[in-house]
């Protein structure tokens, strides 16, 4: 599994409107809940799982990228929500750089293989500085999808 297998225009939000770490996570979960029709309770469960993972250590990985993720059996298939912020958000990244590109990755507990492969694919796809710059400058979700498909 790779980024292209799960990239969905409806699960891309440009720009994110939140101004802090928790707000970004809530906004990404909310994008998923609205797009997939999950109930508010299911949304809470997803959010709790992501925040619980975040409490183990920040998922800000440096170079302006953060990949909050969690296992959740509310989700039926491995899912990715992608958000781009116009403003850099402090995500406690090891390099001290604030983040503008956010990938929320969720997977059911019995799809560990696909979950791991997707996370690795995201890490590989964002190694290019030029690509990261293009993502940060994307105007809307269609442009983001187009950048991955090129």
């Amino acid at each position: 599994m790779n980024v292209l297998d799960v990239l969905d225009k409806d699960l891309v939000k440009v720009p994110l409107l939140s101004s802090d770490k928790r707000g970004v996570i809530v906004e990404l979960v909310d994008t998923l809940v609205k797009a997939r029709g999950y109930s508010p309770q299911q949304g809470e469960q997803i959010l709790d799982a992501v925040l619980a993972r975040e409490s183990l250590g920040s998922t800000g990985i440096g170079n302006g990228i953060a990949i909050p993720h969690a296992k959740s059996d509310v989700i039926e298939q491995v899912t990715m929500v992608l958000g781009i912020s116009r403003l850099p958000i402090d995500f406690d990244s090891p390099d001290g750089e604030a983040s503008r590109i956010f990938f929320l990755v969720l997977a059911p507990s019995k799809q560990a293989s696909a979950h791991v492969e997707l996370l690795a694919s995201i890490a590989r796809s964002c190694t290019s500085k030029i690509f990261r710059r293009l993502l940060e400058q994307a105007r809307d979700s269609e442009e983001v999808v187009h950048l991955f498909m090129e």
Partner: protein, 160 residues
């Protein structure tokens, strides 16, 4: 008459398309009186990449390693059950490493003459880093590769 395929290897990763591939491989092996090996590779390379990139903390890597090992057992047991249903002996292999590298080595050591894969997706990007493990296996296999499209007919036919 010579048997076209004597040693078939099928790769499974738990995806629905790999489950279709195992059904197809069982039917094929039965038809051609071939030996069949099902392989699941725990992708420890991806786990290492995630720790190196700072995406996984150590405790998380250990947890996912256990999850992947359980996945491997679950899906290999499933493959064994399906083969037994059809009265076919199957060898199962649980391995660890870089998926396409491990599969290539297995194909060589088994002197396999066919690799059966599911889950080939359309080419949607020219970027090499977005190639999937299945794509890489197809490119590096030292033997012919049969790609099984995920198709309900295969499930119906298998269960008939």
């Amino acid at each position: 008459m010579a048997v076209p395929f004597k040693q078939i290897v099928v790769y499974i990763d738990g995806s629905e398309s790999s489950m279709t591939a195992i059904m197809y491989a069982i039917k094929l092996a039965k038809e051609h009186d071939s030996s069949l090996t099902a392989v699941y590779v725990i992708n420890t390379r991806a786990l290492s990449e995630l720790v190196k990139a700072g995406i996984f903390v150590a405790v998380e890597r250990d947890e996912y390693l256990r999850d992947l090992a359980q996945d491997a057992d679950r899906y290999l047991n499933h493959a064994r059950r399906l083969a037994e249903e059809k009265g076919l002996e199957i060898e199962t292999v649980k391995a660890e490493g870089t998926v396409h590298v491990v599969v290539k080595e297995l194909l060589k050591s088994k002197e396999a003459d066919l690799l059966v894969l599911g889950g080939i997706t359309d080419i949607r990007s020219r970027r090499e880093e977005l190639a999937s493990e299945t794509d890489r296996m197809m490119r590096t296999a030292p033997c012919p590769v049969l790609v099984v499209r995920d198709d309900d007919d295969i499930w119906f036919e298998f269960e008939a």
